[in-house]
């Protein structure tokens, strides 16, 4: 069990031991960093490739289709075929585009998407760097994608791109606020910003003392996950790339491998947002019986599944509905959730705790739903028309 649990950590140690036989100590540090970087740099794009396959299969099944099935068994080589297709496509840059920025934007968007992998705890002792501000680092770096998306949309010199870019900025900035606030209860409960410490704080009850099993944790989990879906520009929050309204939004003018880079960033952030949600509220790598990395992957892929399930089910929100959800529903509820977390920690007795927190959360969400009810004009009665 311990062997399986630590198999990746131990294999890295074995490589380092092997290297230390003929390398100086300083070089070992570089080798150690390079192994972690290499693992992440291989894992990120590989995940992206197979998430595209997974999404197409899953949405296909939801629509009673089979999905990709021509290239390789179960279409498993489809991402490679797509990659070859993308690489051989013509790279079109619009005549009026700002060529440098247009080229830089897809590169810039992939960097934060890859960087955030460094603080994701994949398993016990399996984190590239255990930053003591890991969560803050994650949120700050993933917010950088906004700049890249706006760079790309502005540099394309296309109305649809620009519209998509402006929608992106509005959406990402709005959802950043409730997202950070929704992460606060987990920080309060664990007393740390380090992702590893947050996971370790959920280790009780044979690895099942996840935050999601508390009232504030459940609400925080739902809100953090919803904001995460919005941060990734996924359905139903995909108005920045709304196909039916603004062609393809910010990546209208991108083709070939640059387009693939946009998608790579999107799918990698799908994975990292799911991973972070699992880390904050679903106990990360904590869990009984299975190895820690297996638990982490199960939770993360379950959340990825739900994101793709959303994609197969929900229609796109209107801009005003989406903004209203962020500012008028999620933001007040996250603040109340922080209050409830505080109350949970300063009250004692399970009944009082549960009753108080569930009561406050239910009442406040009901009140918020009431306040957010859209205005419906009364049905007109035509007195003289018959």
């Amino acid at each position: 069990m311990i062997f399986l649990d630590q198999i990746f950590v131990n294999s890295k140690k074995a490589i380092l031991n092997l290297a230390s036989a003929f390398l100086p100590t300083d070089a070992i540090l570089i080798v150690s960093a390079l192994i972690s970087i290499g693992a992440i740099a291989a894992f990120g794009p590989f995940t992206m490739m197979y998430l595209t396959w997974f999404e197409r299969k899953l949405v296909g099944r939801i629509q009673n289709r089979i999905g990709p099935n021509r290239v390789g068994i179960f279409g498993l080589l489809q991402p490679i075929a797509d990659g070859i297709k993308m690489l051989t496509k013509e790279d079109i840059v619009p005549a009026g585009a700002d060529k440098v920025v247009h080229f830089l934007a897809p590169v810039v968007v992939v960097i934060p998407a890859l960087l955030v992998f460094s603080v994701v705890p994949f398993g016990r002792n399996m984190v590239a760097i255990d930053l003591n501000i890991g969560l803050l680092f994650f949120l700050a770096v993933s917010a950088m994608t906004t700049i890249a998306i706006f760079m790309g949309s502005w540099a394309s010199r296309n109305k649809f791109s620009l519209l998509g870019g402006m929608r992106t900025v509005a959406q990402l900035v709005s959802y950043e606020v409730p997202m950070v606030l929704a992460a606060v209860p987990a920080i309060l409960a664990s007393g740390s910003l380090s992702t590893v410490d947050i996971v370790e704080a959920q280790g009780g009850w044979n690895g099942l003392k996840w935050f999601v099993f508390t009232p504030w944790g459940f609400v925080g989990f739902l809100m953090f996950y919803l904001c995460g879906v919005a941060e990734c520009n996924r359905t139903p929050f995909d108005i920045p790339e709304a196909e039916s309204e603004i062609v393809a939004g910010f990546h209208t003018e991108y083709s070939g491998m640059k387009f693939a880079l946009w998608y790579m960033a999107e799918f990698m952030s799908v994975f990292t947002i799911s991973a972070l949600t699992a880390t904050l509220y679903l106990g990360g790598y904590q869990g009984p019986w299975l190895p820690s990395w297996a638990w982490f992957m199960i939770k993360t892929y379950a959340l990825v599944f739900v994101m793709m399930w959303f994609r197969g089910t929900l229609p796109r929100l209107r801009v005003d509905q989406m903004m209203g959800l962020a500012w008028k529903f999620l933001l007040p509820l996250t603040l109340i959730n922080i209050l409830v977390t505080g109350l949970w920690y300063f009250t004692s007795g399970l009944g009082l705790r549960l009753g108080l927190s569930i009561g406050i959360l239910l009442v406040s969400s009901w009140v918020l739903v009431l306040f957010n009810r859209p205005y419906m004009p009364e049905k007109r009665v035509y007195e003289f028309a018959e």
């Binding site: 899953l58 099944r61 939801i62 629509q63 009673n64 289709r65 089979i66 099935n69 399930w309 959303f310 197969g312 089910t313 929900l314 739903v369």
Partner: protein, 193 residues
């Protein structure tokens, strides 16, 4: 809120059902795969399906039923049939075509040639996988491509085959009876429809 959950439930039901329920092609009910892996799997052919005419022969390709009467070419709305009658060595016309071409790019699969033919010589086929490397020559079907045996017809359209065989047998009997009643029928008279 609850509408969203119900929608999620429906899509999940479809997702699960696509693995477990049997396939129901042409069904609008939820659940069950509807797609067909076309080149490997096919829907059973409908007997009355028609696409592209073919010329029928009974035993060997030389004794085809077509007598080059040109009725189908005249009846054909888009004029896609081109027939040249064959001649013997003395230059006398024979009761068979020398050239029989159908241009598939022009044919509209109406089946009027089949209805017009008084000799039951041309019928609509089930062939729908027709393609060519270019648009002009490879899609003009010549006589050797158009000729198919009567067994093929019996296979693709069994009920029509039985009816037409019955009709042909009765006509042959009538003709034989007429020949017996009238010992010397004129040679050059074209057969009656």
């Amino acid at each position: 809120m609850f509408g969203v959950l119900r929608g999620m439930g429906i899509t999940f039901k479809n997702f699960v059902a696509s693995y477990f329920l049997p396939r129901k092609p042409n069904s609008l009910e939820t659940g069950g795969m509807v797609t067909l892996q076309y080149p490997e799997e096919r829907l059973p052919e409908k007997e009355r399906f028609r696409n592209f005419p073919f010329l029928i022969y009974d035993t060997k390709p030389d004794d085809l039923r077509c007598v080059a009467c040109d009725i189908c070419a005249k009846e054909c709305p888009p004029k896609c049939i081109y027939i040249v009658r064959d001649n013997d060595e003395q230059g006398r016309p024979l009761k068979k075509p020398k050239v029989f071409d159908i241009d598939f790019t022009v044919c509209m699969n109406c089946g009027i040639c089949e209805e017009a033919c008084p000799f039951d010589a041309i019928f609509m086929d089930h062939e729908f996988e027709v393609g060519g490397p270019e648009r002009q020559q490879s899609l003009v079907y010549h006589m050797d491509q158009l000729l198919k045996p009567a067994t093929h017809f019996a296979k693709i359209r069994p009920t029509d085959h039985v009816a037409i065989e019955e009709k042909r047998r009765k006509e042959a009997e009538k003709k034989r009876a007429a020949a017996q009643a009238q010992p010397k029928p004129p040679e050059a008279k074209p057969p009656q429809a």
